[in-house]
Amino acid sequence: VGCGAPETPGDTSGDTSGEVPQRPGRAVTLNVLDVAGNLQLTQGMIDEFVSKNPDVISRVTYSKAPAPELAGKIKAQQGADRVDIGLVLTGVDGLAAGIEQGLWVDVLPAFADRLGGMQNYLEPAAAMQKLAGNAGVTVTYYPSGPLLEYLPSRLATPPTNAQALLAWAKANPKRFQYARPANSGPGRTFLMGLPYILGDSNPKDPTAGWDKTWAFLKELGQYVDYYPSGTTETMKNLANGTAHLIVSTTGWDINPRVLGTVPKDARIATIDGFHWVTDAHYAVMPKGVSTDTQAAVLALLAFMLTPEQQAKAYDEGYFYPGPAVKDVQLTSAPQKSQDAIREFGRPEYDALIAGNPTEVPLDAKSLVAAFNRWDREIGGGKVKQG
């Protein structure tokens, strides 16, 4: 046996590459891997599909993994010619990493006719779909952030522009927090949103076009105690008073308050001139799954993109608002979801979403470059290198 790295997937065996039937010949067992926390929104849809179509999907398993591991896992399975994950739910990062490695089946344009719902995307969701290329299917969408979050009991008037934020952080050292962007949605939204706020030369080019952003983060870093490795930690710190001002998104604002991890009276603030850096979750199929499974997944996705199912994406504000297609009303969401949003949602979101421009996030390569630079210069900069 030669000593070489696991090969990139080459040929796939017979039943994985042929014509994809409309319905699977036999009900399949579907393994779903979630690396984006998306099941929170979509598991109800999938379960409903399975219970209504036992002849298509007889059993479904769910598993979760951190996004960075996704590509390695899939690649290894493909290398071994044993792909048992039929559906991956991922964010932009995992999707892009897979595209670069050639891991995903191109759903478009081949199966566009089976996924009618895709014609119906909200405008920013359609932009997110464009970013995904031919591999991913947008299943949920939210405008994300960057937002600032605080407790009025600890902070009366939050800063409203970048300089004020810097000044506030300087005046209140260790009280401003955001999590390591590579591990945190709000963290990365903040990172990608700053060039718009600061007016950098090219917000899409972290290497050459983000001079103001990097300088700003470096200066801000002087007043930051540490960068937690997950958003949850920043939320916890906000709740217990260690941090007074943290970075957030619409979902991270509402859902933790529903769960009780953050006090109900927490408020959000925005920075003047901010653009929404939108976010979406995608469904992808790894290359190497059988054609039967592909057929089943396509049927499932079509089902998930119907407005009735999309209403479930309101959830408890986890990915607020959540639905990726047009004309999905909160009133068609499950009652529990409606109750949560009524109690913990914010009326001002409608205006904020309508009144601020939306931007798609960085492409994967640029994002990795931005993360890498952030890790070395901002995150790792706080440690002396030996």
Binding site: C3, G4, A5, P6, P68, E69, A71, G72, K73, K75, Q101, R180, A182, D225, Y226, Y227, P228, S229, E233, K236, N237, N240, G241, T242, D375, R376, G379, G380, K382, V383, Q385, G386
Partner: protein, 299 residues
């Protein structure tokens, strides 16, 4: 019947092999050998081979890459800075406590049993507990604040100290139980003999017990160091994985599963193994300077 008596018949070949200790019983080793070769040695050498086949450059370029990048190279220092003091503290703290408890006393089984608990908790649960307990509003800080020992919560998690405590919580009981067993292996009559020869407890300890315990301490240090050196989940969960606790196993993990660069990951794993073996070799070399024979233990 003198004819039936062959002069000095040749000894059977089985006897000859048996004289050297080789016989059919050795077949019992085969499954374990096959296993260790297939699942340990082969992957290990596979990894070694892989580390010399980088995606770019000559056979050594991944090693060069690691050592020429301060961010990567620094992980060695970061790891040692956590693992060495933690292992040292675990061993040194274990000695006086084990020395106190080496005799038989009523609560001994209870104490040792309670000490085993953190070993079984594992690093992940310990991490979760530490985050809760040592966090800024955890009980530990609340007590410090309530007793006016500090004005502001001490930050003990998501940094060096979080990882350090995690290593102490899982490593100390381990070290303690090992040291205790080494101590029980030293014949208590030796100390009694020293007492009748006029040695007070201090000199009984320094002249008799400690020298005899040193090899055991060295072994204990090696084992706790190995545990500490491979710190991975706690470095992520209670440490600051982007910064001061970006340990070398994390670098290897990221290379493999975030950058999909298996040769580079293997190179880092090999460097990691090498650094660890160097430390162990140094300790074992020092150990060999002590008396390592039987200590008359009854064990």
């Amino acid at each position: 019947m003198s004819g039936s008596r062959p002069g000095r018949p040749l000894t059977h070949w089985q006897h000859r092999l048996a004289e050297r200790g080789i016989d059919r019983q050795l077949w019992l080793l085969v499954p374990a050998l096959v296993f260790v070769v297939a699942l340990f040695l082969y992957p290990f050498f596979y990894g070694l081979g892989l580390s010399f086949q980088p995606t770019r450059g000559g056979p050594f370029s991944d090693y060069v890459r690691f050592f020429s990048d301060a961010y990567e190279r620094g992980t060695i220092w970061i790891t040692l800075r956590i693992a060495l003091p933690a292992a040292l503290l675990n061993v040194l703290a274990a000695v006086p406590i084990a020395y106190r408890m080496r005799g038989r006393f009523r609560a001994k089984r209870l104490v040792t049993t309670v000490l085993v608990v953190p070993i079984t908790l594992g690093t992940v649960l310990t991490a979760q507990g530490l985050l809760n307990f040592l966090g800024p509003t955890g009980w530990f800080n609340r007590i410090l604040l309530a007793t006016n020992l500090v004005d502001e919560p001490v930050r003990l998690t998501h940094n060096y100290w979080g990882v350090f405590f995690s290593l102490v919580i899982t490593g100390f009981p381990f070290a303690f139980l090992l040291v205790l067993s080494y101590l029980s292996g030293i014949d208590p009559t030796l100390e009694r003999a020293a007492a009748t020869l006029g040695a007070d407890w201090r000199r009984r300890f320094t002249r008799i017990t400690l020298p005899l315990l040193m090899p055991g301490l060295a072994t204990t240090f090696c084992l706790t160091f190995v545990l500490a050196f491979s710190v991975f989940p706690s470095a992520v969960l209670v440490g600051n994985p982007a910064g001061e606790t970006r340990v070398i196993s994390l670098a290897a993990y990221q290379a493999a599963y975030e950058q999909y660069d298996y040769p580079y990951a293997s190179a880092i794993a090999m460097i990691m193994g090498f650094v660890e073996l160097v430390i162990i070799a140094v300790v074992l070399a020092a150990r060999s300077r002590f008396y390592t024979g039987s200590t008359g233990g009854k064990g």
